[in-house]
């Protein structure tokens, strides 16, 4: 009861971010643009509203007037890559239905960029160079991020490489640590892995240290290439950047095979159907572009609001956007 009257007393016309934070957001964008310019990465703008949408069953698009608000600018940016084979970047506001929380807002800012000729390891160096520039500008201490392979992170907890881990192993880990394991996960191994990573790996990261997790299970490839690593694991050529427990960026050595891309879209649509989710139209423009040819490239999306959280020490996304949540 007390809580409700408290929230209704907040002046929702007022910005959540202080003027100091707004100035830092502007400085961050300037810093990114100067880095990209030096690297000869071209700034582009692609439509926020599109006929096609992401088919990812874990990402929910807003529908508007028979079109969809983009959840990331990935597809049209890849079409530009197919057409012009040039390094490009974009700072875009994107929209994801149902994502509300301390580190989530339905509308948020992404920096997305693509480097032609790079794989995900080379792109990680690029991400690190940009981060180095940013932390210098903001006078923030930053230790070079360490890189952990997904399988090593999992086997530290489960004592098994990831391709041998089953739902039963994961449930046992939760039981051993006397943590609650939600039965609703059912036989969704990837969901169980997500929860395992969050509870036992990511939430243990030291707050002031950054870390890359690299080489995800092939079942979590999304739009990354799948390959076999030196130990024989089937992996997705994908990485994520964390700062403390905050997930900042996700990058891929991009899948270029149009047939494989179509197969993944169809599989995702089937998953959506099996979960009684609304179906979304797959991006035929992207598939045509991939058939034309995507240059070998790597791409990454970095959440700018989350980055502001760690740069300013704020703990709620409401403090790093002018008008988040109910203020919007």
């Amino acid at each position: 009861m007390c809580l409700e009257s408290k929230t209704s007393n907040i002046d929702t016309w007022r910005p959540g971010a202080s003027l100091d934070v707004l100035e830092k957001i502007a400085a961050l964008r300037d810093c990114i643009r100067s880095y990209m310019q030096e690297q000869d990465v071209l700034e582009v703008v692609t439509p926020a509203l599109s006929q096609a949408a992401s088919t990812d069953p874990n990402i929910h698009s807003f529908a508007a007037g028979g079109r969809y608000l983009h959840t990331s600018p990935e597809f049209p940016m890849k079409r530009l890559l197919c057409a012009y084979a040039r390094d490009i970047y974009q700072i875009a506001n994107v929209f994801r239905d149902g994502e509300v929380g301390r580190h989530h807002n339905a509308e948020f800012s992404l920096l997305e960029w693509y480097r032609v000729g790079m794989d995900h390891h080379a792109l990680m160096n690029d991400v690190e160079a940009l981060m180095q520039r940013i932390v210098e500008q903001f006078s923030i201490a930053w230790v070079q991020p360490q890189t952990i392979r997904y399988t090593d992170a999992v086997s530290r907890v489960c004592e098994k490489p990831f391709d041998e881990v089953t739902i039963q192993h994961i449930e046992n880990v939760f039981r051993q640590h006397q943590r609650y394991y939600p039965a609703a996960i059912g036989n969704d191994l990837d969901a169980a892995m997500d929860l395992l990573m969050d509870e036992f790996v990511v939430s243990q990261f030291e707050p002031s240290k950054a870390c890359f997790i690299v080489d995800y299970p092939a079942s979590q490839a999304a739009l990354a290439r799948v390959s076999v690593d030196k130990d024989g694991y089937k992996i997705a050529e994908r990485f994520e950047l964390f700062w403390g427990p905050v997930e900042l960026a996700n990058g891929f050595h991009e899948l270029v095979d149009a047939g494989e891309q179509r197969a993944r879209f169809i599989a995702e649509q089937q998953t959506r159907n099996s979960r009684d989710q609304s179906s979304t139209p797959m991006d035929e423009h992207l598939l045509q572009a991939l058939s034309h040819g995507l240059p070998d490239c790597a791409g990454v999306a970095l959440g700018l609001d989350r980055l502001m959280l760690v740069l300013t020490g704020c703990d709620h996304i409401d403090q790093v956007q002018a008008f988040a949540g109910d203020r919007a």
């Binding site: 809580l3 149902g98 301390r102 989530h104 939600p182 609703a184 990837d190 929860l195 979590q220 997930e247």
Partner: protein
């Protein structure tokens, strides 16, 4: 009772878990960029008062608990049950020992209390934050000693024992904070 989806979760929401009514104390949306979303909560069992962590898969739906807080007037105790009355409807309800918990220490006839009802029956009782009670028994007061900060136990009719300053006399009325059980002030007649 209505069902609630995880995206409707918020602090104070009352839900049924393992057959008991719970209130959500904290909830946090957790989601990797490319993966399954979860709602991590801390919930308090309204019967036992225990707080535990529960994680839900996003989109799970949970039965709501028919729990409401009402202001009721305390009437009397017959030794086994404590009787309350709704001042508007004059309806009377009896709370048992479990529901009363430690609240009996602070119940004075006619005091307005917050009674939490589950399926229409008292589940918990919160006494007023401050009550005024007459001291039944305490050591004789030390006149003029207001500065040394010492204290002594004072016994109330209800069985409550409150630490009071040394200058307080038997038969005096004092104000008590029921949340901490601490003496607040002397009440002058």
């Amino acid at each position: 009772m209505a069902n609630y989806n995880t995206n409707e979760f918020k602090g104070g929401l009352k839900i049924m878990l393992d057959g008991d009514p719970h209130t959500i104390v904290e909830n946090e949306f957790v989601k990797p960029g490319k993966g399954q979303a979860f709602t991590r909560t801390k919930v308090r069992n309204l019967k036992t008062g225990r707080t535990v962590e529960r994680t839900f898969k996003s989109g799970e739906s949970v039965e709501g608990a028919d729990v409401m807080d009402t202001e009721m007037q305390y009437l009397y105790s017959d030794g086994e049950m404590w009787h309350f009355m709704d001042p508007k409807s004059f309806e009377q309800l009896a709370a048992d020992k479990t529901a009363i918990g430690d609240a009996y220490l602070w119940l004075i006839e006619e005091a307005m209390c917050e009674v939490t009802l589950f399926n229409g029956q008292p589940l918990a009782v919160s006494p007023p934050n401050f009550v005024e009670m007459k001291i039944k028994e305490t050591d004789p007061g030390v006149r003029g000693d207001t500065a040394t900060g010492g204290n002594k136990p004072a016994y109330m009719d209800t069985g409550a024992v409150v630490k009071v300053p040394l200058f307080i006399e038997e038969g005096e009325v004092i104000k008590i904070d029921t949340r901490s059980g601490e003496y607040v002030s002397r009440v002058k007649n």
